[in-house]
Amino acid sequence: MKKFALQDHGLVPAHILLTVEESDEVLQSYGVDSAHLPKIRVSDPVVKEIGGKVGDVVKIIRNSSTSGESVFYRLVID
């Protein structure tokens, strides 16, 4: 069976793995701990695809009916 990238699918929003510096910056800008972010599992297919590890922060850019594009951050958990 042919392998394909989940992210190429039109309905899967863009998931971007943040570096430690980037995620620190995000947390600082919102003034929260990483525990206060929404969560995503390491076992999530997209997280597997982009190689996220527990403790990483994933940036998700979704299409939104109100703002066109909306940015979410999720903490990778077990």
Partner: protein, 876 residues
């Protein structure tokens, strides 16, 4: 924000007899409460160690005074075990699942291990284990012979309310308890219980906890007689029977008597726990009233959870019927004098206001606005009466607090249930009025969803400066004109307000000087403009549009289509034949009619524009002015609607008859074509469906045609048409049904087909497909319906009623679940949405960080407006 203590986990279990004894401060052995001198009897039901309720005494267990001491449990040692009703079903399941000889769960070791694994997984995931546990019991029950000791098993029958019969013998609670005691801990785990916190034998009570007296206070009646709480009564019964049981058993009474007493004890304990068990006659008070026992205290709407914790009665509130008063501002509420004299606002006396405060106090509590109570600096409260008013007024010092009666200008919260959105509670300014109803401007009915057919509303008086500030800044009616739901005005003209504006501004209505004065007499700061012209007699006249323009802010520019705009292919704009194109330049109506689309609730375009450009204060002023003007406008024109307003001339009736006959003929032709097999099916439809659709179409068109004939003859002068066209109330369809033809009745969007075999009513032939046989009503409401039509109409009408009934209950439940899930979310100052633990739910409120009520939709129209405004500025 830090939470002082965080709950990590809650676990539920059963209390063991040892635990009951450990938490008990006294063993209760006598059923008596007080001795002849009125002192509680030791080891009785009112033992002083159980807590205190009488003022002045101290608790013998903790030393606390009444109010401080939470009360302490005692216990009763039961002579024989008794079944706990709440667990009757579970006891049955366990009895059937375990061996009657060796008490082991009748499953093979491998199965047990598998189920334990599954249960542990579910527990780890935080999910319910009910399904697995039920399966365990169902599997265990299948064994007819114990797999461990090979003992043959008997069917155990459960007889309501509380008997377990095995092989014709009733199992006593002791038997059951003995069996349960022998169940190994490992097997308890398979049954989904934790043997450390819940052993099955604990479901049979051997010790009964006696609730503290604070939970069942006795009340002293006026006669000095003590009246005990229902729980105390029940406990007395339990102790008495327990004692008799013991005496009889020790005396070696016959088995029959022992059994009877045991059953009686079971009955009393059952009703002590729950007095509504089916099959058990409820225990009654001497007066015949059923006792309110433990589970009745917790259950239901008035129970502890829904009645005392989720919601409770509050002070400083009032409730009465509402009625309309168009002379009030939308920001005001009329409060009956009697209510105003009962409610109060606390005010602190300071050197700067002491004289004013003295005036209030001097008036006493019988003269409005007076003072009901004063609180001295040391916290002592004194009731102000006519007698001591003067004296107290003189004593008044800075630092004291007075509870001043509610008076004009005070800010209060006003609420109508169901409180479905935030506009269901808004703050108003008080206007004290005579009579007994709350009065409000009908323009604020839409957000409350109120009408005046007997609705009642609640009023609350904020008691602190902070609460008043918050009420005034955030909750004022004028701050809530724009709904956060769709960003448009939810407050505006309804019914006669819309009609009034329509009558005033439609066409070139000429208004003479006297009438102008009349229309404007309730408005303030109005300058009468130059007359629009002079009539033949040389008297000046003004137009309705001119008059309405007086309440529009200067500089307002707006163009839109009125609600009765016909949406012509090419809009003639200000040349509109129906006067349906509204143009406002610099606060002057150039053309067009003011109707629901301009000032109505939920749509008012002018209201919307005024608030967004001039702010809520000007907006509220506009609505107030509009309502005043509309009321005068409708009175000037005169407006009524009656049965003869639906009269149509004979020729109109003939035309309608022709249209209906033609439709009937067309339907007949369709049916003939169908029967002859000449009907062409529509794509994707069967022949039957096609016929139905074509018939519905034909009849629908016929009804519309009769409507337009009637509409033509009724004309714009007709009151019904005015209301329908302006958007005040009703629609042209309603008028059509009254004057011309009611039309097709339907169930689930189809013609009526149910009834007898092959026909709807016995008046028709079997298989009749015609219009009359399937619910087409030719008559109008005015003419009256014939019997078959009436019946079909009732069918269609019933469907509507059922739909609304179901919809309201379903949407109410849906709303409750949604609110319960969302109520703790909060929009932070940085725009993020967080829940109470600080976990982010949205990184920007609504993903775009916009408050819908504060946003002006970025439509091309608005860009156009901005360009126009800039150009005008440059020109000036």
């Amino acid at each position: 924000m830090t939470v002082p203590k965080r709950i990590g986990k809650i676990s539920f279990g059963l209390i063991s007899p040892q635990e009951f004894r450990r938490m008990s401060v006294v063993k209760i052995i006598t059923a008596d409460t007080y001795d002849d001198d009125g002192f509680p009897i030791e080891m009785g039901l009112m033992d002083p160690r159980l807590g205190v309720i009488d003022p002045g005494l101290r608790c013998r267990s903790c030393g606390g005074r009444p109010g401080e001491c939470p009360g302490h449990f005692g216990h009763i040692d039961l002579i024989a075990p008794v079944i706990h009703v709440g667990f009757a079903k579970l006891i049955r399941k366990i009895l059937r699942g375990i061996c009657r000889e060796c008490s082991r769960l009748m499953l093979l070791d491998g199965e047990k291990r598998m189920y334990i694994d599954q249960i542990e997984t579910l527990v780890r995931l935080g999910q319910t284990t009910d399904d697995i546990v039920n399966k365990v019991f169902a599997e265990a029950r299948k064994h007819k012979v114990c797999p461990y000791c090979s003992a043959p098993q008997q069917e155990i029958k459960f007889e309501r309310p509380l008997a377990y019969v095995e092989d014709g013998h009733k199992l006593t609670a002791s038997d059951i308890r003995d069996r349960f005691e022998k169940i190994p801990d490992e097997d308890v785990k398979v049954m989904g219980m934790n043997p450390d916190t819940a052993r099955p034998e604990w479901m049979l009570l051997t010790v009964l906890p006696v609730p503290p007296v604070t939970m069942r206070p006795s009340i002293t009646l006026e006669s000095g007689q003590r009246s005990e709480d229902d729980l105390t009564h029940k406990l007395v019964d339990i102790i008495r029977i327990n004692q008799r049981f013991q005496e009889n058993r020790e005396a070696g009474a016959p088995q029959l008597i022992i059994e009877d007493l045991w059953e009686l004890l079971q009955y009393h304990i059952t009703t002590f726990l729950d007095n509504t068990v089916s099959g058990v006659p409820p225990a009654r008070h001497r007066s015949g009233r059923p006792l309110k026992t433990l589970s009745q205290r917790l259950k239901g709407k008035e129970g502890r959870f829904r009645g005392s914790l989720s919601g409770k009665r509050v002070n400083f509130s009032a409730r009465t019927v509402i009625s309309p008063d168009p002379n009030l501002s939308i920001n005001e509420v009329g409060v009956p004098l009697e209510i105003a004299m009962e409610l109060s606002v606390p005010l602190v006396v300071s050197p700067r206001n002491i004289e004013v405060m003295r005036d209030f106090v001097r008036r006493g509590s019988d003269k409005h606005p007076g003072v009901n109570y004063i609180t001295r600096a040391d916290g002592r409260r004194v009731k102000v009466t006519e007698r001591n008013a003067e004296e107290v007024a003189e004593q008044l010092e800075p630092g004291w607090r007075i509870d001043r009666q509610l008076m004009d200008g005070d800010i209060v919260l006003f609420n109508r249930q169901p409180s479905l959105h935030r506009m269901s509670i808004m703050s108003h300014r008080v206007i004290v009025m005579p009579h007994k109803t709350f009065r409000l401007n009908p323009a604020v009915c839409p957000p409350y969803n109120a009408d005046f057919d007997g609705d009642e509303m609640n009023l609350h008086v904020p008691q602190t400066e902070e609460a008043r500030a918050e009420a005034e800044i955030l909750m004022r009616v004028q701050e809530n004109i724009l709904s956060p739901r769709f960003g448009g005005p939810i407050i505006g003209g309804i019914h006669d307000y819309v009609t009034g504006n329509f009558l005033l501004t439609h066409g070139e209505r000429r208004i003479n000087r006297l009438e102008v004065m009349d229309v404007l007499k309730k408005l303030h700061h109005i300058e009468i403009p130059e007359p629009a012209g002079w009539d033949e007699a040389g008297a000046p006249y003004w137009t309705g549009k001119q008059i309405f323009s007086l309440i529009l802010p200067k500089g307002l520019n707006l163009e839109f289509k009125a609600s009765f705009c016909k949406n012509c292919d090419s809009c003639k704009r200000d040349g509109c034949d129906d006067d349906a194109y509204v143009a406002i330049r610099d606060g002057e109506i150039i053309c067009g009619t003011i109707d629901a689309a301009a000032v109505g609730a939920f749509k008012g375009k002018i209201t919307d524009r005024v608030i967004k450009e001039y702010g809520p204060t000007v907006g509220a002023g506009f609505i107030d002015g509009m309502t005043q003007m509309a009321i005068r406008g409708i009175m000037l024109a005169g407006f009524s609607f009656g049965i003869d307003d639906e009269d149509i001339p004979k020729e109109a009736g003939d035309q309608i008859e022709d249209v209906l006959n033609a439709a009937r003929e067309n339907v007949r032709k369709l049916i003939d074509a169908y029967k002859a097999g000449e009907l062409e099916p529509l794509p994707g439809r069967t022949l039957d469906e096609t016929l139905e659709m074509r018939i519905m179409q034909t009849l629908g068109k016929a009804r519309d045609n009769t409507g337009s004939i009637a509409g033509r003859y009724l004309g714009i002068d007709n009151s019904g048409v005015v209301m329908a066209v302006s958007g005040a109330r009703g629609s042209m369809l309603n008028l059509t049904q009254m004057a011309a033809c009611v039309g097709q009745q339907s169930v689930r969007g189809e013609r009526i087909r149910r009834g007898y075999e092959g026909r709807t009513l016995p008046h028709f032939r079997r298989g009749d497909l015609g219009a009359e046989a399937h619910g087409f009503v030719h008559s109008s409401y005015k003419e009256g319906l014939n019997p078959t039509e009436f019946f079909f109409h009732a069918i269609g009408g019933r469907e509507g009623l059922v739909d609304t009934a179901i919809r309201t209950s379903q949407s109410g439940y849906l709303q409750r679940r949604l609110i319960n899930a969302l109520q703790d979310l909060e929009v932070q100052y940085d725009g993020t949405v967080k829940e109470t633990r600080g976990i982010i739910v949205q990184f920007s409120y609504g993903e775009d960080g916009v408050d819908a009520s504060k946003r002006d939709y970025a439509s091309p129209e608005n860009v156009h407006r901005i360009v126009q405004r800039v150009l005008r500025k440059e020109g000036a």
